[in-house]
Amino acid sequence: MSTSFALQHKKNRLYYALLAGAGLVVLLALYAVDLMEEKGHIITGMNNQIVWGMPHVFAIFLIVAASGVLNVASIGSVFGKAIYKARAPLAGLLSIAMLAGGLAVLMLDLGRPERFMLPALDFNVTSVFAWNTILYSGMFGLVIAYLWSMMEKRMNVYSKPLGVAVFAWRFILTTGTGLIFAFLTARQAYGSAILPPMFVVMSFAWGMAVFHIVQMVIYAWNDKELEPEILERKKRLLGIFILGSLYMVVVYHMTNLYFAHRMSFERFILLDGGVYPALFWWGYVLIGNVLPLALIFMPGMKTKKSAMMASLAVVLGGFAFLYVFIIGGQAFPLELFPGYQVSSTFGDGQIGSYTPSIYEILLGFGGLAIAFIITTVSVHVLNFMPHDKSYIAD
């Protein structure tokens, strides 16, 4: 008894230490924002060619994963699978936490963050950014209602329709995130109709990976054992999502390679663009795909450790992909005069240079820390632990 009490005491202290650590990261991020406010974006690595940098990599990862993590809930409520249903509340919580973290980063990176409410007030109907303000706030509201319907017995009847609404909403939301880039017709890296579905499929993989990591930590924290059958099944599903998103990325690059006018961009991003091809092949393809697929599908890899490693690799690969996609996509110069060699004082015809500054990175980690705090506190005070009946395949 006393040993278990001592252990509990130790855990409590660890819990508060973790919260304090995350709180410190948030404070550092706010300090970075304050400096950016005072001195301007000059203290970041962003410039007039690379206008979106590290904060956007973090923000978009968090927002896309926030949508994807709801897959777990959807499989439960829309398709009625029991083991997923038991995990729907945790998935909903993670979604809200990551959305909050991602949006905080996005808003605090604005040149005028104090005007963040303007898109809602001066709504421009043709702007996909403006649409997204509705999609993001709607998602918050819907997921909170969905969580309520699952956790409050009297609201249980609404759980199914709310689950279906969340299911539809998050598809539209991730489509909206993909459209931000799909509508940029003038840039070789973007302007493709495949981007929204690509983001949707990627969200499945990233969200599932985050879910795995959090679930495994929660089980370990509570000294509980996840049934190997459940773990195996979810691991395989992650594998399928990884394959699906890899397929979309291959098709995206293949279509670009087919268009003669985008060949030079593909050459840059896949072959001779320095850090970008390196991150693409080593970071995204090898760590983000080959490694987790091997960990998931190679015979004899049935341990919890392999599932954890595979999920972490998918998250790292996701960050690598977004860095290449967002920053590499802007580093390649806009083509104003196709077929001509151009130069100017404003970076025309030159590869844009970008070195992320510590302030941007702090802001990005601040977003992760916000998601961490929301998740940790909620799991501590409310009942988000999945409750499985004995596993029966359904």
Partner: protein
């Protein structure tokens, strides 16, 4: 009795509302030009690249001076107008031209701006409302001409006619403050070879309209179908 009181109250309210709103509406009308897209006025430029001599920076210097820009060339400095040196790789032919906001009739920056800070006046000039810009930089991503700059640092000694703001996006205003006074944009006035012809594209008798009818002119990235207000001759 009550009815009369109510009627009087309504009359007074409507009158007061009209008095309050009317000046605003008037200002709105002024700010947005006088007429709609089929207006009699569409400001534009025709740039003769043959007169754009190597090493000449008169238009750039004039722009910087007029609009209070530092003239710095760092990647974080604003450049509303820049000179692009162009070389045809297959023939070796080289030429240069000034590049700035093309004042599109269908501006992508206006489409993507979440707050409507990027807007087009009815006389065709595309501007950024510094009070509504949140600094998201989506317009910079969307502009095919890389015409926009983001203010990365605090500003000092601004020109009162050309308000700018740290954390907001800006670009060539076609010297709207001069145009509204009946003057030419600074770059057009400064060009030693008179290669930048400014005028009303919608007035068939204007010099620019006549010249555009007579000579072959090009829109940069015409494939995007943006109907630019700035046209080039000799490319």
């Amino acid at each position: 009795m009550k009815d009369v009181q109510r009627r009087n109250f309504l009359k007074t309210s409507v009158g007061l509302a009209a008095v309050t709103i009317a000046p605003g509406m008037l200002l709105f009308k002024v700010a947005h030009g006088e007429s709609d897209d089929n207006s009699k006025v569409r400001w534009g430029m025709l740039i003769d690249t043959s007169g754009c001599t190597n090493g000449c920076r008169e238009c750039i210097d004039a722009c910087n001076k007029e609009n209070g820009l530092s003239g710095g060339l760092a990647p974080t400095d604003s450049q509303w107008i820049r000179k692009i040196e162009i070389k045809d790789v297959s023939t070796g032919h080289e030429f240069g031209l000034p590049m700035m906001c093309q004042h599109c009739a269908e501006p992508p920056c206006v489409d993507v701006c979440p707050t409507g800070a990027s807007f087009k006046r009815h006389d065709g000039i595309v501007l950024v409302d510094k009070h509504r810009c949140i600094g998201c930089r989506y317009c910079m991503m969307a502009c095919p001409y890389k015409a926009r700059s983001f203010v990365h640092e605090p500003l000092h000694n601004q020109n009162p006619d050309v308000p700018r703001g740290k954390g907001t996006v800006e670009s060539c205003t076609m010297c709207v403050h001069r145009v509204d006074e009946g003057k030419q944009p600074a770059c057009a006035e400064a060009c030693p070879n008179k290669s930048i012809l400014f005028g009303n594209l919608h007035d068939p008798n204007s010099e620019i309209a006549k010249k555009i009818r007579a000579v072959a002119s090009t829109q940069v990235r015409a494939d995007l179908n943006l109907n630019t207000g700035v046209r080039y001759q000799g490319i």
